[in-house]
Amino acid sequence: MKSVPARLPLFAALAFLAVFVLVPLAVLAAQTVLGPDGVTFDAWRAIASDEYLLAQTLATLRLGAAATAISLLLGGGHAWLTTGRDLPGASWLGPLGVAPLVMPPIFIAMGFADLGDVSGFWPCAVLLGVSSAPFVAVLTARGLRSVDGRAYESAWLLRGRPRAELWLLRAIAPELLAGCLLAFLFTVADHGVPEFLTVKGKTWHTYAEGIFSRWNRRAVGTTFAELQSPIVMAVPFITALACLLWAALRLRAHAATGIVRPLPVRHLGAWRWPALLVPLAYLGAGIGVPLVVLARWVLGSAQRLEPMSLDYARQSFAKAVDQGLPDLMHSLWLALGVALFVVLLALPLARQSARRWPALDFLCALPAAVPAILLGIALVRSFHDSPWLRALGGDFYAGWGFAVCGYAARFLPFAALTLAAQVRRQPVAAEEAASLVARSPIARALRIHLPPLLPATWSAAVLVFVLALRELDLAVVLPAANATAVRRLANAVHFQHEDWSGVIALLLLCIAVLIPLLPTLLAGRRLSSLS
């Protein structure tokens, strides 16, 4: 048995999960039956009669399905064509599959909105599909790299090339499914893009957006049932999503691991050059178009400046330094703090779920299944004017500490699940060998358990850093996070501030790219290690 001090990190992480995930969601659930006049099931009854709410939910599911299909086509197609293929430039196009992840979805939406009319269902699905495609791309590429090339060759020899490709597709199905599920979760949970497109003339609404808009109108006399019914609807919704996530995790856990021979290079034949269209379309939509639009803003396009000029860019930069730099720095420090905090929480949780308590995966995955806006509302409802927080002294609720905790609750699944998968790959016997050595638990943790996890820890920290940097939904709700760059940019474009907003956006992207690239640049690792 481990001593209590050795288990302190785990207890602290479990306490965090309880306080910042379970309690807020439980409070929210309880409040659906605790109306102004005591216990009431009005909110639950309202669901049956609220056609608007049902329409929102159906619209969200349709949007989720369509965006996921687009993510699968673009992200999955990108990985399928660049991993172990003879596509021209595959060696550098492949690692770039992860690049659109650094682009906040709202930037992609702003970019496309600048080019033309993006109102309607399909433009929204395309925008969200493109922004979620990196999840499918990264996991598909990873699946393809983990398939044993000899097994593929056996299938090829026995059943021919087309059947071998089908076999390969089936072999990576768990990764594909997990990627699609992540894309679906991010799409249905996104409130920022649909809300932005509403301003641009959209005539339909989504579920996450509905939760926010009703919650936002709580001060203008909306009834209890109207306010609560979207949240009530969230209960079965979240449960279904969490179950899907759980299933995907289990499937991935059963996928083959170990040392494998890489897949042989699979030739595209006559499709070699035409197939380039898929990666180019994916990268063009995911990073190319938004970058071009942001660069044009910096040069004065939004101000109808003809011709655009570098002088104007210099002015934009000066305005950005003057008006937006503090927000950018807030974003940077918040994202760094969240990444560090999440990794510290995720490590003990990952070890526990991988070695002793697999069901902990489910608990860790829960925040990923909750729309971020709902988690944010739950946090605000639970801790706004909380006597517990007042007891901590200062204004913790309005400060950065609370924002870091909120973001950490949101992004904990991505680090905890990544690290748990990595812990499962480590041989148990090596850890047992360490348990025979007369060393302190801390020495064992630092010298034996942690070093093999360092690459995965860095990957998890980078993922959380990038996701925190681009997070808009929580930034809208949590007080301190209101001052982040993404939140300010989403507002600034409504006030014709595209010029300096573009500079801030480009700087934000530079940070999001440079931090993950740091070890690659310093240690000279191959680009493929990025994904």
């Binding site: 048995m1 047992e432 360490a434 025979l436």
Partner: protein, 358 residues
Amino acid sequence: MTLPVVVTELGLQRASFALGPVSFAVPAGGRLAVVGPSGSGKTTLLRCLAGLERPSHGSITIGTQVVADERTNVPPDRRGVGLVFQDGALWSHMTALQHLQFAAPGLSPADARALLQRGGLAHLEQRRPDAMSGGEAQRLGLLRAIAPGPKVLLLDEPLRSVDVHQRDSLVLLLRTLADERGLTSILVTHDRDEALALATDLVVLHEGRLVEQGAAMQLLREPQTAFTAAFLAGAACLPTTADGTTRVTTPFGAFDRPAGVTADLRLVLMPGDTTATALARGSTALGATGRVLATLPAENGFTVRVALGDQIVLARSTEPLAVGSPVSLSLRQPARLLPWDRGTSTFPTADSPTAARR
């Protein structure tokens, strides 16, 4: 100082597997091997000794300290045992020198280097496990286990991942280091040769139960159960049928049941217990008949592998016999009738005759 190990009525209950009760004792400085086929519970037993599993009942005593019983479970790092894992279980991110320094905090770099030198790994002190051969990795696993100065050395099939050429040198190193340090060693393996190379006494396990224990050579020559004879000596164990209460029928004829044994018996044919002779067309066999699988030259004749039902009998022959030809097998020794294992039969006492009379 060397310490004895005493295991008393040890058992571990799991949903799909039960170990024990198992009792044995290893004297201070003794070398014991626990042998048995896969799934017999030998690794589970070793893990209980190391403290990596908590037994459901029974006790383990090392020296005078009870390290595990109903109330006590001394953590692995406080038992004073070293464990050499099956596949090394090395720490992939550490060099050979770092392995020893982490395992034994009090070991100076010079002492660690001397130990590496002793194990023939001096030239690999800055290498990580992925840059070592199977034999080198297993040597490092051994050095890591003994570096803190344990009193008891536990070995989990240490030769399994080592190629044939490196086996002998590793066996020599293991025995030398154990003797030099006066270590009590307990080995688990399913490999008879590995057991005989590293241990003087054996405990035979089968399906979680202790079948037999004793001096290795004694068990090899005079096994008390058919299972031990089959597992250790490669004996063929032919089923018998009861012929009344006092006699049993075998392919070689009917024999008297040994006194005091009531269980199902097997006719145990140790290698060389039978003589194979070519069976001419139309002639009648004197004993059992089988078919030749292979003929190999041996001292004073040939060793013939003969298929007899679903068993393989190693018989002697004075002439090479053609593969596939029918042969007659006759007994060269008195028939040896033994119960399959102790768990399902009345075990013969030490002085009861196991040699049956025709």
